[in-house]
């Protein structure tokens, strides 16, 4: 049996989907053909690549997302209800309940159903221009949803949920202005040092935005925790923003400053000059 014939059997052989007879044909061929034997060997060796485990915090992050999503949905439903109420015209409402309107609704719902089916159908890989517009709209909606989830998480009572919110918000390539302002607020005012540090870490990736750099410099004046103060100083030194040097000098003269923090500020000033 030649390689071409074996090529037809090999994929099924690899997943154990051949008869005993076919398996022995493949094995006999592999004794004579080095290339096919090596294909099989490499497939088997893939078992050596060990499985990986998600980090233990993954479940908590999921729960925070779920909680935030539910909060957003409830808020949306409430505001939709408030917006709808004053507009109800009772005669129109009565008409909507008539049999004629019921059929109109059925047709409309069917059309919506067909549209949704076409839009999200599985296995449709070729996108027409209108589909690609829909996909773009869907992606932008998802970005908004991610941002809403992040914003909602940043306002949660529990520090661990706020921490999840920071990690949801900081990884977008482009920081949404609302998320940016929420992160800067978190950096200045959050009661937990861990959350403030995480916010700084997230903001640190967006040094190209002047408001972020300005916000980090401003946060330094308000910080009480030496741990966060040192992290802020390190961030400013890393950005090599010469304008930060003067602010650091002023900060270094703050009375009752922790000596380690003062030393770090002096080190950063020397780096920036």
């Amino acid at each position: 049996m030649n390689c071409e014939r074996i090529a037809e059997l090999l994929p099924d052989y690899l997943q154990g989907g051949v008869t005993i007879d076919q398996a022995s044909q493949v094995e006999q061929h592999c004794q004579l053909c080095n290339n096919c034997a090596q294909d099989v060997a490499v497939w088997k060796k893939l078992a050596l690549v060990p499985p990986a485990q998600p980090s233990p915090g993954s479940r908590a992050r999921f729960e925070a997302m779920l909680h935030a999503y539910q909060t957003i949905s409830e808020e949306r439903a409430r505001s939709a209800e408030i917006a709808r109420k004053p507009k109800i015209v009772w005669s129109l409402f009565d008409w909507l309940r008539s049999p004629l309107a019921a059929s109109a609704w059925s047709v409309a719902l069917l059309a919506i159903g067909v549209l949704i089916g076409a839009r999200f159908g599985i296995g449709t890989n070729v996108a027409s221009p209108s589909q690609s517009e829909e996909l773009t709209a869907m992606r932008s909606e998802l970005t908004n949803m991610r941002q809403l989830v992040a914003l909602s998480m940043l306002q949660q009572q529990s520090a661990s949920e706020r921490l999840q919110g920071v990690s949801w918000s900081g990884r977008e390539a482009h920081l949404d202005p609302q998320v940016q302002s929420a992160l800067l607020h978190t950096l200045r005012c959050d009661s937990s040092v861990d959350v403030r540090l995480a916010a700084l870490d997230a903001l640190g990736r967006h040094a190209s935005q002047p408001q972020v750099r300005q916000g980090v410099v401003d946060a330094l004046q308000e910080q009480q925790s030496p741990l966060v103060q040192v992290a802020l100083i390190d961030q400013l030194a890393e950005w090599r923003d010469p304008e930060a040097a003067q602010r650091l000098r002023n900060f270094g003269q703050t009375p009752n400053l922790n000596p380690a923090v003062r030393q770090r500020a002096e080190w950063a000033i020397s780096k920036l000059q």
């Binding site: 090529a7 294909d39 893939l46 050596l48 690549v49 499985p51 998600p54 999200f120 599985i122 390539a173």
Partner: protein, 199 residues
């Protein structure tokens, strides 16, 4: 709860019992994480993508059609999420990332080395070939399931898997013999900062 089929749980989620999504998360977070870890070699990105998949399931739960295999539907979402992530990734804004850490180590040093070489060889394949091998070998998806996922014939899947395996073998043997692998990278590989790959 373990015995309830995925599809029934998903229907409950679709009907508004969104807390039930936790059951599906517990069942699939590790397989999905492994899918992304093998595709990206990046722990942070893989975890983000898993979360994103479940956010999308939640957001688009109404589009889940009864009778559809949940796993296939989920992997469809997972593939789209990955495609979007590649589009969003900008080489000039690298994230601080950590490579994927295996949870168990092979017995012998040789096995460890071979596993590392195989990982590198996988990353040398174009995205579509790597994906086929990951789905069929690591995620243990049957060929007909992959065919439904990709929207093609089962026969075409088998041919493409065989080609992908052949290319993997060539790259693996080149890397093993110390010859730098020929440039068979997918466009995606160029978009990933080198620090994110498993060395």
């Amino acid at each position: 709860m373990n015995s309830v089929p995925d599809e029934d749980v998903m229907l409950q989620v679709r009907n508004g019992e969104v807390d039930m999504l936790g059951v599906l998360f517990d069942r699939y977070q590790t397989p999905l994480y492994n899918f992304y870890a093998k595709m990206t070699q990046d722990r942070v990105i893989s975890e983000d993508l898993v979360q994103e998949v479940f956010l999308r399931i939640l957001r688009y739960r109404q589009t889940y059609r009864p009778g559809t295999t949940f796993r296939t539907w989920m992997y469809q979402i997972a593939r789209n999420t990955r495609i979007d992530q590649v589009r969003r990734t900008r080489p000039e804004t690298p994230l601080v990332s950590e490579p994927v850490a295996p949870t168990s180590l092979s017995d012998s040093a040789q096995h460890k080395q071979e596993a590392a070489t195989l990982q590198r060889a996988l990353m040398h394949l174009p995205e579509d070939k790597r994906e086929l091998l990951v789905l069929s070998r690591f995620q243990e998806l049957k060929y007909d399931e992959i065919a439904r996922l990709l929207g093609c014939e089962v026969g075409a899947v088998k041919v493409r898997i065989h080609r992908a395996l052949r290319q993997l073998r060539q790259v693996f043997l080149q890397l093993e013999s110390g010859v730098p692998a020929t440039d068979s990278h997918g466009a995606l590989d160029h978009s990933l900062p080198p620090g994110r790959r498993l060395q």
